[in-house]
């Protein structure tokens, strides 16, 4: 092998290894930072009649009671809203839609993967965080929220064409991402995937690329990238579609983890 080529290869490998090491170190720091900011954001306990109900669950049974309390508190909060809310019961694998406290749709969650942060965070902080609904700040999906069809009105009756039967073939993969105002990423994948081709992955490939491009300049300048706690769910495509179409842009999400 040419000597210059050898040097080039070695340098490339060294840069690559260094980048990976730097990225890993910065990512670890970012998780730690997120944990700290999570603890700071949710330092306040929920209150009832202006009395804070502080977490004091030392054993598993009392911890469960406090988590149940947090869940119902969040449900009641969400029920005050006029719009449709999403309820994710990770414990019982159920996703449901709520309108003014009435469950209008229930869906079974087939697979769940949650960020280790939810397990690493103190139960007290988790209790505080889950005792009120999260607000969706961003939504991205492989399907449109409103499947609008533009129709230009005819000038006169001669141009008029009666409506044909709408195309209801359901082939587009349903995958979507919801981001809460506190940075929690909720990703819903259809199950089973409607197509095993790349099309099914397009949405998430786009999302991942966006994350990499957002992180890359930070890594180069040795700045800590952002870490987003995540909840990945897999469910029936019909349910996924219903949920995505139903929830408004700034929807409320109630999460029950334990």
């Amino acid at each position: 092998m040419n000597k210059s080529l050898k040097i080039f290869l070695l340098t490339a490998i060294a840069i690559f290894a260094l980048t990976i090491v730097t990225y890993s170190v910065l990512k670890i720091i970012s998780v730690d930072r997120m944990l700290n900011s999570f603890e700071k954001d949710y330092a306040n306990s929920p209150s009832f009649q202006k009395q804070p109900i502080e977490f004091s669950g030392s054993d598993s049974s009392s911890k469960e009671i406090f988590m149940q309390f947090a869940y119902y508190n969040a449900l009641l909060e969400a029920s005050k809203s006029d719009s449709i809310s999403l309820v994710l019961d990770i414990k019982d694998s159920i996703a449901s839609l709520l309108i003014k406290g009435v469950t209008v749709h229930k869906a079974h969650i087939d697979k769940i993967k949650i960020s280790p942060l939810f397990k690493a965070v103190e139960p007290k902080i988790l209790y505080n965080a889950l005792s009120s609904p999260f607000i969706i700040a961003n939504q991205k999906s492989s399907i449109p929220k409103r499947p609008l069809m533009v129709k230009i009105a005819p000038r006169d009756t001669s141009e008029y064409v009666p409506d044909i039967i709408p195309d209801t073939t359901d082939i587009t993969p349903v995958n979507f991402t919801l981001e809460t105002s506190t940075g929690i990423i909720i990703r819903i994948f259809e199950m089973p995937p409607s197509s095993k081709t790349v099309i099914n992955l397009t949405h998430f490939v786009k999302e991942e690329t966006r994350t990499i491009f957002r992180d890359l300049p930070k890594i180069v300048t040795l700045k800590v990238p952002e870490y987003h706690p995540y909840i990945y769910l897999k469910m029936d495509r019909k349910d996924a579609k219903m949920i995505y179409r139903a929830i408004p842009q700034k929807a409320l999400v109630v999460i029950k983890i334990e």
Binding site: I65, Y72, I84, G101, V102, H105, E159, M242
Partner: protein
């Protein structure tokens, strides 16, 4: 010489005296040490016991407090759960799914009927003079505001525009069309109705201008079940 001897004797004596002192000191220390430890243990033990007692007292107090809080939270959770469950009405209500065009009718919190319906087509109609309409069924909570039999449809402007017809005046008789809304209609506000249809083959599809269409049997059942102010949940 004598002087020297005396001096030597004195030195030996003083040396002897010194070693006695050292021995005495050593014995004292050896004796004192266990005594001190013994005394210390006598003092420390009750002190430790007291501290432990105090600590145990604290823990007992904390445990009692925790138990009380747990009970209070348990009670509050039950109360919140009841409050949440109470939000689902016992009165009849209907849930409409606009994504898959289905409805579910409930009475006494029990599902009594389910079926197909048609909801908004999500068509964005643009007129020649740049007026726009989106034909979508409004999502969220609505209430039955009125119930009528043998409804007559008053055609809105968009109905003429989408067919390329000239828009008549507000009171023009050509606006009134009988027999297209089925036998019953229920208003949910802002001009949206739950009504029948002559386009039954489109049921289960999103084809309407925002109203909810049903077949004759379902419409009759819904009309007879729902009352004025019954809840209509659309998602």
């Amino acid at each position: 010489m004598e002087t020297t001897d005396i001096h030597n004797e004195n030195t030996t004596d003083s040396k002897r005296g010194f070693s006695y002192k050292l021995l005495f000191l050593k014995i004292t220390i050896l004796l004192c040490l266990p005594i001190t430890i013994l005394l210390a243990s006598f003092t420390i033990e009750p002190l430790a016991e007291y501290t432990l007692k105090q600590h145990n007292q604290d823990t007992t107090e904390t445990v009692t407090k925790k138990k009380q809080t747990k009970k209070a939270v348990e009670k509050l959770t039950t109360h919140f759960k009841q409050k949440f469950v109470a939000l689902t009405p016992y009165k009849p209500y209907i849930v409409v799914n606009t994504t898959y065009n289905r409805f579910k009718l409930y009475k006494n919190r029990k599902l009594i009927r389910t079926g197909f319906c048609s909801t908004g087509s999500y068509t964005l109609l643009k007129s020649q003079n740049k007026r726009e309409w989106i034909f979508q069924t409004p999502k969220g909570l609505h209430k039955i505001q009125g119930k009528i039999t043998s409804p007559v449809w008053r055609r809105p402007d968009w109905s003429f525009i989408e067919e390329g017809l000239p828009v008549p005046s507000k009171d023009d008789p050509s606006r009134w069309e009988a027999g297209v809304l089925g036998d019953y209609a229920m208003s949910i506000g802002n001009g949206f109705l739950i009504h029948g249809t002559i386009y039954k083959r489109f049921l289960g599809m999103p084809v309407t201008h925002g109203c909810i269409r049903m077949n004759d049997e379902d419409l009759k059942a819904v009309y007879n079940t729902l009352e004025i102010s019954s809840m209509v949940y659309i998602f």
